[in-house]
């Protein structure tokens, strides 16, 4: 016993350098004050950038945490950076404190032991999170295990310009039929862009009778048979695409510009509120609306995660906790601001907070939660990688 006390006394000065414990939230708040959090997040969307700036101002006011938004063109850049730091032996004071992440990037970081934690499920606002109805504890079927905190829900919708395409398309075969009648009026972001890959997954899920096989990792024996309908579908669709599939938009938002320019009539989006927000920002005509497929569409969560060598882990947790707060979630869901789905469970909220969500006008082009219908699970991350690779070999270098 005395030995232990002695050891504790000797080790006490070292405790200051130890990682913060999220279970002791007051200590986290204390440590976070004055820290600067470098939040690496995709910077391609101006509305998201504005939201991140707002969140930074709020945590600065409330908790004395400074947030710097590092605008990425590709989240993998952040993964690469942390890896480079590990390679160089920089195990403390890394350049990145928080990353907006999901899917294959999370799987890669988790696999390579580049993450701090577990911490996410100890945050105070975790109590409000909808752990039953929403996929917040698995990320593309990979268990999150408290290594990342959810902050937004996304679901695939299709944006259509009702001036040219008045009626929703119920399924992928119907989409193909419409494309045959209207060649050159549809395209999707070029895989490996995540939205383009999502289109492949969405098409495969819709074409399969039983998409549950996609929950398992890709198996060589069954891969060809399972994906055969997708390649047949794409072989027919590709010559009917915008520019006959010889060029593709490189990102999702680029499709909005194409609709605005009158070049295409239909685009895929991973954000149910994106169309309404874009109309408000003059980026889409006010005739744009959204629809989902009859069998449902893919949904997933966006997370934030903390690298193992972050210099401001406490500050990063304070920011992650703030992002899950009713205040931040309500603002994110406002289509005038961001239009992202909330990760919170309405029944867990205080009455006042819940009313805020109920009062929210989701916008002219946004479907209600009921209209969004069935959410389909993301396939295992290995499918995204494999489909994207095969697409690139089949269509990515085609003339």
């Amino acid at each position: 016993m005395r030995k232990l006390a002695l050891a504790a006394a000797l080790l006490a000065p070292l405790a200051a350098f130890a990682d913060p414990d999220p279970a002791d939230w007051d200590a986290v708040l204390e440590e976070a004050r004055g820290q600067t959090v470098f939040w690496n997040a995709w910077g391609g969307s101006t509305t998201t950038n504005d939201f991140i700036a707002w969140a930074g101002e709020r945590v600065a006011e409330e908790y004395g945490v400074t947030v710097e938004h590092v605008k990425l063109t590709d989240t993998a850049d952040a993964v690469t950076r942390v890896l480079a730091e590990k390679q160089a032996g920089q195990d403390t004071g890394g350049a990145i404190d928080l990353i907006w992440i999901n899917g294959a990037n999370f799987a890669a970081m988790k696999e390579a032991d580049l993450l701090f934690g577990p911490w996410a499920e100890d945050l105070p606002n975790w109590a409000f999170v909808d752990t039953e109805g929403k996929t917040v504890q698995t990320d593309f079927t990979v268990p999150t295990e408290g290594l990342e905190a959810p902050w937004a829900m996304a679901q695939v919708v299709f944006i259509h310009d009702t001036a040219d395409l008045p009626e929703p398309l119920p399924s992928m075969p119907a989409l193909l039929e419409w494309a045959e009648a209207n060649p050159g009026r549809f395209t999707y972001p070029q895989p490996p862009d995540f939205l383009g890959t999502t289109f492949l997954k969405q098409a495969l899920i819709d074409l399969l009778d039983d998409p549950s096989v996609l929950a398992e990792p890709v198996a060589e024996e069954t891969y060809d048979e399972i994906t055969e309908p997708l390649w047949t579908f794409l072989d027919t669709l590709t010559p009917l695409l915008w520019r006959e599939g010889r060029a593709y938009p490189q990102t999702g938002p680029r499709q909005l510009q194409l609709i605005n320019d009158g070049e295409i009539d239909l685009a895929i989006s991973f954000s149910p509120g994106e169309a309404s927000t874009a109309i408000a920002n003059f980026q889409l005509p006010d005739t744009a609306r959204t629809f989902v497929l009859e069998k449902g569409t893919i949904g997933n969560a966006s997370f934030v995660t903390i690298p193992y060598n972050s210099a401001s882990k406490a500050g990063a947790m304070v920011l992650a906790n703030f992002l899950m707060s009713p205040e931040a979630q309500l603002r994110a869901q406002d289509p005038e601001i961001l239009g992202y789905g909330t990760v919170l469970a309405m029944e867990k909220l205080a009455d006042e907070d819940r009313r805020g969500f109920e009062m929210l006008d989701l916008g002219i082009a946004t479907l209600s939660p009921a209209e969004l219908g069935q959410v389909q699970d993301e396939p295992h991350p290995s499918w995204a990688t494999r489909l994207s690779e095969d697409w690139q070999a089949r269509f990515g270098v085609a003339e």
Binding site: T80, E85, A108, R243, G262, F395, G396
Partner: protein, 580 residues
């Protein structure tokens, strides 16, 4: 003799020995400062290319990365694109610059073109590419102007103009940007050769304006702009941002594909990327060698042509072509910029409207404050890097001059390595180097990384005019009692004001335009106008791109305006220096 009358030199014997020790070492220091990062960076590429990347669980050596690279089905097209767009863009840019300078220098039309083109060098490649894309796309500005009236298009036609598989649009975008660069280099070189006198004599002998210039002035000018031409070739072959915006994507050029592999979450792809980077390096070196041989061939043919004594009967035709091409190239960038400016204040604007429904300052309100903050960061980095580069370059050149340290041809090639080696080939390795040095954070390493790229450009821009300076001026000044330092400060640098300012403007523009070094070395923490603009570019929001593109252009444009205006202003009483 227009130099001011010499005063008595203020001798400071105590300081001279120190300088004598310091100055001769400067060239070596400069070389080390630049070659260290490049060599380390290349090492960081070489190892993974041969299968050694412990962080990804790979320990080589093996040839698997190259096998994977050659198994990529798009490799043939990607390599072809890299070569054809690079050679075509360089040859076309050089031809336009030569035609316009040969056919029109000394005329009013030339001064107009010069004023139009020179500042366009400042326009960042990405902004110019976006402007061009909006101009010539099927739903672009030109189509909008004539639709539906003349064309009958209610909807834009489904034509593959931008991102065509032959890379022609991309080549056009590169030409529009490289013409101003080569023209400015040519103008700086013209100050060192007695072009007007030579042409006057040639014309008196009955040569056409263009033929006379080509035969008497061009050989001397080309000797001075040769390295800039090589840089244009190396750059055009490995450019990323322009290729992403205007180039094809099925498959893209090799360098774009390398960037994609580097960004792949699967770390093993970095090995394949490293192998691709080495291939890209080989392609660039091969193309440079080819160009070098072509130079020999052209020189041999041209000597026969010069000796033939032909006076140039079709000169007027070629002059017209030169003026047209230069005008078109200026128009493309200017109209593209106008498009960006209009988008930055546009309300809703769809096809086929030639103008937006309404104007609004909303985009500036949204993006202005952040853009201004990025402007401050950009300016700070660019100014520091340029001043440092200028000091080193002048120090080196002066040491060369005083101690006869003129580097060998091989030394020069080493000096220009950072420009001739594709950035993508050695920057990730450079990042690791800085990490080991514990200097991975913040602004200072970014400035040092910019210096690696800024210094060669400054050197490239300043070196030839500096060396071509008539040293008899210095001998005269020394004979009148001036110390070497005094000759430098009171005679040489004032006479070389135009090339010095040009070099500074080039340095600033280079720094402002750097994307990969800022992103990789700054760890993403240093936000300049360029990193912000390219991040936005992936989202395709033309209004935001308009705001950032204009700010970015302004950041680099003002120094060029000064580089052109200041010598004329300062030397308004020195006719020979003012015109240059």
């Amino acid at each position: 003799m227009t130099a001011p009358p010499a005063e008595r030199p203020a001798l400071s014997p105590s300081r001279r020995p120190l300088r004598r020790r310091l100055l001769p070492t400067l060239p070596l220091l400069t070389l080390l400062a630049m070659l260290g990062p490049v060599a380390a960076g290349l090492g960081g590429t070489l190892l993974p290319a041969f299968g050694h990347l412990p962080a990804a669980g790979e320990t080589g050596p093996s040839l698997d990365p190259f096998r994977a690279l050659f198994a990529w089905p798009g490799l043939g097209d990607a390599v072809r694109l890299s070569i054809t767009t690079g050679l075509l863009a360089t040859a076309t840019s050089l031809a336009i610059v030569v035609l316009i300078t040969a056919g029109w220098s000394g005329t009013r039309a030339f001064r107009v073109i010069e004023r139009l083109l020179s500042p366009l060098l400042a326009v960042p490649h990405a902004a110019a590419a976006f402007g061009l894309a909006f101009l010539i796309a099927p739903s672009g500005w030109i189509a909008r102007l004539f639709s539906p009236g003349l064309t009958g298009w209610e909807r834009p036609p489904d034509l593959l103009i931008v991102q065509d598989p032959w890379g022609l649009t991309m080549t056009a975008g590169l030409v529009a940007k490289e013409v101003p660069f080569l023209l400015l280099m040519t103008l700086a070189a013209l100050g060192q050769v007695k072009a007007q006198e030579s042409v006057t004599v040639a014309r008196a002998l009955g040569y056409g304006r263009l033929t006379g210039w080509l035969k008497t002035v061009f050989p001397r000018v080309y000797a001075q702009i040769r390295l800039p031409v090589y840089v244009v070739l190396a750059y055009s072959m490995s450019v990323v941002d322009v290729a992403v915006i205007l180039g094809p994507n099925t498959p893209p050029t090799l360098s774009v594909q390398i960037v994609r592999w580097m960004a792949d979450p699967d770390l093993a792809m970095r090995l394949q990327a490293a192998a691709g980077a080495l291939l890209q390096l080989g392609l660039v070196l091969g193309a440079l060698a080819l160009w070098f041989l072509l130079e020999r061939l052209v020189a041999w043919l041209a000597r026969r042509w010069i000796a033939s004594g032909r006076r140039g009967r079709v000169d007027p035709l070629w002059r017209g072509i030169g003026l047209g091409a230069a005008g078109l190239s200026a128009f493309a960038v200017l109209a593209g910029l106008a498009g960006l400016a209009l988008w930055s204040v546009a309300g809703f604007w769809s096809f086929p409207d030639a103008l937006p429904d309404g104007l609004s300052l909303r985009s500036w309100g949204r993006h202005g404050p952040a853009a201004t903050e990025a402007l401050g960061e950009t300016a700070l980095i660019a100014l520091t890097a340029t001043v440092g580069a200028l000091a080193l370059a002048i120090g080196c050149l002066e040491a060369e001059h005083r101690y006869g340290l003129r580097p060998s041809t091989r030394g020069l090639w080493l000096l220009y390595l950072p420009l001739l080696v594709p950035q993508i080939a050695f920057l990730p390795g450079l990042q690791t180097l800085l990490l080991f040095g514990g200097a991975d954070m913040g602004r200072l390493p970014v400035i040092l990384a910019h210096l690696v790229f800024v210094l060669p450009y400054v050197f490239l821009s300043l070196g030839d005019p500096y060396r071509a300076w008539d040293s008899r001026q210095g001998i005269v000044a020394a004979a009148l009692g001036s110390s070497p330092d005094r000759v430098l400060w009171r005679v040489r640098l004032p006479m070389l004001l135009r090339p010095v300012l040009t070099a500074s403007a080039v340095g600033l523009a280079v720094s402002v335009g750097q994307y990969l070094p800022t992103l990789l070395i700054g760890g993403g923490r240093v936000a300049t106008l360029t990193t912000e603009a390219v991040a936005l570019a992936s989202g395709g929001d033309r209004r935001a791109i308009g705001v950032y593109g204009l700010m970015q252009s302004a950041a680099a444009l003002i120094p060029f305006a000064l580089a052109l205006a200041l010598p004329a202003l300062i030397w308004r009483n020195r006719k020979g220096l003012a015109i240059g």
